[in-house]
């Protein structure tokens, strides 16, 4: 695919050309003399560990940050990007890693914000705005309702809105910062089709992802950033995952294979019976045992998150019983769940996971803060600092210190902070909802190892994930959901991607499992 770059008039000049770009933040040199080129008609994958500087580089292109040094060239012409609007005018369109949507506005209003359809100068023409949006969605093959308010959408659909918005510009350069982090495989297919349609001889795509397997499918070349430097560019067809990963992390990672069936001791730690909610869940029941990892698979919106939230009392239950170690417990809110030894790590890191404006260590000890508090209510800062340091080391959280504010960490490192929070609290049951969302391959392995370690310590683990390979690799058993019902619970040995998908698409007409 690389050699298919257009020949002819402008063949020589790359579409976008960056030289010697540097950017520092207090205490962190995020980018250090990075050069990079995006050729015409190509999809350039940008990979690197969490905190390598990928998002920072893209924010420079989007006009959100100004570089400390470096030259940007678009079509061979030197440019200075003055701001987000200017970037748009230059034809650079970006999908940010964190959502940038207005939850109170509708889908169409979000997409065309700043470019409203006007009837007479000042007045809006809502109907033609919706018509335009509907046409856009038709063209992109997306099932979105232009009049739906964004706050009512699931994370995945919000991502679709972001993508539709970016594609609605007449962009030449499309930058996607981990667009698939919130998508399941079917949605990824939609996205790739969209990218395929966008890619023309005069356009180019920068594609950031931690999902190595996607790179082969979508990218022409792969550029690797490490610690703010460009450590190499490879043509996709001429390289393999192993080489890319070793460039990224500076060592080899051995992806383990699926777990050997492990014996699970008798009594379940957590049992859930006849769990239903007003909005979605219907009669969900399952058990998790000590030392077991129970995976949850399903399409987006299948209700896996809702099961977790209902268990810990974050959402009201309509009916259902929850037992811990065989004893029925009443859980009305997450605090009670936590007291009974159930911890829940949310999939929505920014809104439900981290305290962005607080320090790393404060976030890490938040759940377990009582353990760091004397009888009189005084907190022991020395011990908190020690714990913070400990987890920063153990999870390799990239931060200059434990006092750093979480908002200054890269997305993946923020995720590690959330995981550390639940490791610091000693729970019997841990529910991880998309625990590796936005995490680099190296760190993913670390998290897998962590989850396994936890299971081996005798904890019961529920892992919700939209990445089937991940589910298959880690889970002892796998529960599959569709439309708020449990359609299967399989032993790992019996599960394949194909039959999981099959169960995930068993809709209500087909009945549920026994």
């Amino acid at each position: 695919m690389t050699d298919s770059a257009p020949s002819g008039d402008v063949a020589g000049t790359p579409l976008l050309d960056l030289t010697g770009v540097s950017k520092g933040f207090p205490g962190v040199q995020a980018l250090d003399d990075v050069s990079l080129e995006l050729r015409r008609g190509e999809v350039l994958a940008l990979v690197g560990e969490n905190g390598a500087g990928k998002s920072t580089l893209m924010k420079l292109l989007a006009g959100i940050y100004t570089p400390d040094a470096g030259v940007f060239r678009l079509n061979g012409e030197e440019i200075t990007i003055e701001g987000p609007k200017h970037a748009q005018e230059l034809g650079i369109s970006i999908i940010h890693q964190e959502f940038n949507l207005m939850p109170d506005l509708t889908v169409a209003q979000n997409i065309y914000i700043g470019r409203e359809q006007r009837a007479a100068g000042f007045f809006l023409d809502e109907r033609s705005l919706n018509r335009r949006a509907r046409k856009l969605f038709e063209g992109l093959g997306l099932a979105l309702d232009p009049t739906e308010r964004v706050e009512n959408l699931t994370v995945a659909k919000q991502q679709m809105v972001e993508i539709a918005k970016a594609l609605s510009f007449e962009a030449k350069v499309l930058i996607m910062d981990e667009p698939t982090a919130a998508l399941n495989d079917a949605e990824v297919d939609v996205l790739f089709e969209l990218i395929g349609r966008f890619r023309r001889p005069e356009t180019g795509v920068v594609y950031i992802s931690h999902r190595m397997e996607e790179l082969t499918r979508i990218s022409d070349r792969i550029t690797v950033l490490r610690d703010g430097r460009n450590v190499g560019t490879r043509v996709t067809a001429e390289t393999d995952q192993r080489e890319v990963i070793s460039l990224m992390v500076g060592r080899e990672i051995s992806g383990e294979q699926r777990p050997a069936a492990r014996p699970i001791d008798g009594a379940p730690v957590l049992s859930v019976e006849h769990l239903s909610t007003r909005s979605l869940l219907r009669d969900v029941g399952f058990e998790v045992h000590a030392g077991e990892i129970l995976g949850f698979a399903g399409l987006m919106g299948a209700g896996r998150t809702e099961v977790a939230r209902a268990i810990v009392g974050a959402d009201p239950r309509e009916s259902g019983e929850i037992r811990m170690h065989g004893k029925a417990v009443s859980i009305g809110n997450p605090a009670e769940a936590s007291r009974h030894g159930i911890g829940y790590l949310s999939e929505d890191r920014k809104h439900l996971g981290v305290l962005l404006e607080r320090s790393v260590r404060e976030n890490i000890v938040l759940s377990a803060l009582r353990d760091y508090t004397s009888a009189l209510g005084f907190v022991n800062d020395a011990r908190i600092e020690a714990t913070g340091r400990d987890y920063i080391e153990r999870l390799r959280i990239k931060t200059p210190s434990s006092a750093q504010l979480v908002q200054n960490l890269s997305g993946g490192n923020q995720q590690k902070v959330v995981i550390a929070k639940w490791l610091a609290k000693d729970c019997d049951v841990l529910i991880f909802d998309e625990p590796t969302r936005g995490i680099d391959v190296g760190a993913k392995e670390e998290i897998y190892a962590l989850l396994k370690g936890l299971a081996e310590q005798g904890k019961a683990i529920i892992m919700i994930s939209s990445e089937l390979p991940e589910v298959l690799r880690l889970s002892d058993r796998i529960a599959v959901m569709a439309e708020g019902r449990l359609t299967a619970i399989l032993d790992n040995a019996d599960a394949t991607q194909e039959n999981l998908m099959d169960y995930a698409t068993r809709f209500s007409s087909e009945g549920t499992i026994a």
Binding site: L101, M102, I113, L144, N184, A186, L299, E483, E498
Partner: protein, 345 residues
């Protein structure tokens, strides 16, 4: 490299698409219904209060008294209309009360001291209100002072300037006696239906159209919903925030004209506390102080609830010291019921 992509067993993406479609159909219509139901119910608590007072006193539900209520609601109501925009952006404006007083004094300066013709004096007063708003907007948007502090400062400055400019004395509109008809002129023969109330009603319509049908309204919601994202989308958030505070200022100017006209004089004192009343009306009307949500209809209902309560308690001669207790409790109960409803819905 392995290709781990799982394509669904069926050839295309239909499963997820159907899943979407199923959810898609229900929600928006339902949400719209819920929205109007909510306002209907807020309206219902207003009606309930009216019914209670009507039963309690024969003097309450009379044409004259209802007009009195509307008259009482006019000044706070006009202030609340402008404040609704500010609050939807997630901001706040504490300067509307004393700002209104200052505008009244300026009306006195223009009409009485400078002897300008009526229309010019009124226009200049409204624009002066806009100027106050503009300064607030610049302080907030360009200098980055938080809205609470920026408008608190302006509140104090306006309170002081009113006294300074007026020489601490009321200014009377002896040169332009027609000035008082702006608020007081009876426009419907038979009952006293003052022009001020008509102006209030017109302003309600203007504000509602601005908020729901124009680009200004769209950006108001957008900024309140997610200011950073709005800015990233290329909207000049700074400029629009200045516009919105200026708009609120124009309403303050109009309120200054109306209140001075009503009193046939510019009173240089007072105004403090009015901002809380106006903000209360906005919030009782369902506009969130977090920003992003709100409506003009809600604000009007909120302002009416406050005015009806105050009037009704006086009409049924509740001892004055109990009146504020009653208003406090009704506000709590009204908003609590609203919460309940929302949680159920």
């Amino acid at each position: 490299m392995t290709s781990p992509t799982v394509t669904p067993p069926t050839s295309d993406r239909s499963p997820s698409t159907t899943a979407f479609a199923a959810i898609d159909k229900g929600t928006p219509r339902f949400a719209r219904l819920r929205g109007s139901l909510q306002q209907l119910l807020a309206f219902a608590s207003l009606i309930l209060i009216v019914v209670v007072f009507s039963i309690a006193s024969p003097h309450f539900f009379t044409a004259n008294n209802l007009v009195s209520i509307l008259t009482a609601a006019t000044v706070t109501g006009v202030l609340a209309l402008g404040t609704t925009f500010v609050i939807i952006t997630g901001g706040i404006d504490l300067s509307i009360g004393t700002g209104m007083v200052l505008c009244g004094v300026m009306a006195g300066v223009f009409l009485t001291y400078l002897g300008w013709p009526l229309w010019a004096g009124v226009a200049a007063t409204i624009l002066f209100g806009g100027l106050i708003g503009l300064i607030n907007g610049v302080n907030i948007s360009v200098l980055g002072i938080p809205p609470f502090i920026a408008t608190l400062g302006m509140m104090l400055i306006a309170a002081g300037l009113s006294l300074v400019i007026s020489g601490t004395k009321p200014i009377y509109f002896n040169e332009t006696p027609e000035f008082q008809s702006i608020m007081n002129l009876s426009i419907i023969p038979g009952i006293r239906f003052p022009m001020g109330v008509a102006i209030f009603i017109v302003m309600i319509v203007v504000a509602a159209v601005l908020l729901s049908k124009t680009i200004l309204g769209r950006y108001t919601f957008s900024i309140g919903s997610n200011e950073a994202a709005t800015a990233l989308s290329g909207v000049n958030v700074r400029r629009w925030k200045i516009v919105i505070y200026t708009l609120a200022g124009l309403f303050v100017g109009l309120a200054g004209v109306l209140s001075a006209s009503r009193l046939s004089s510019a009173q240089p004192t007072g105004g403090m506390g009015l901002e809380l009343e106006a903000i209360a009306a906005v919030v009782i009307g369902g506009t969130s102080l977090q920003g992003g949500k709100g409506s003009i209809v809600g604000t009007v209902i909120g302002a009416l609830i406050m005015a009806v309560l105050t009037n009704g308690l006086r009409i049924i001669s509740v001892p004055q010291e109990w009146q504020s207790v009653a208003v406090g409790i009704v506000i709590l109960v009204a908003v609590y019921l609203d919460m309940l409803r929302r949680r159920r819905a």
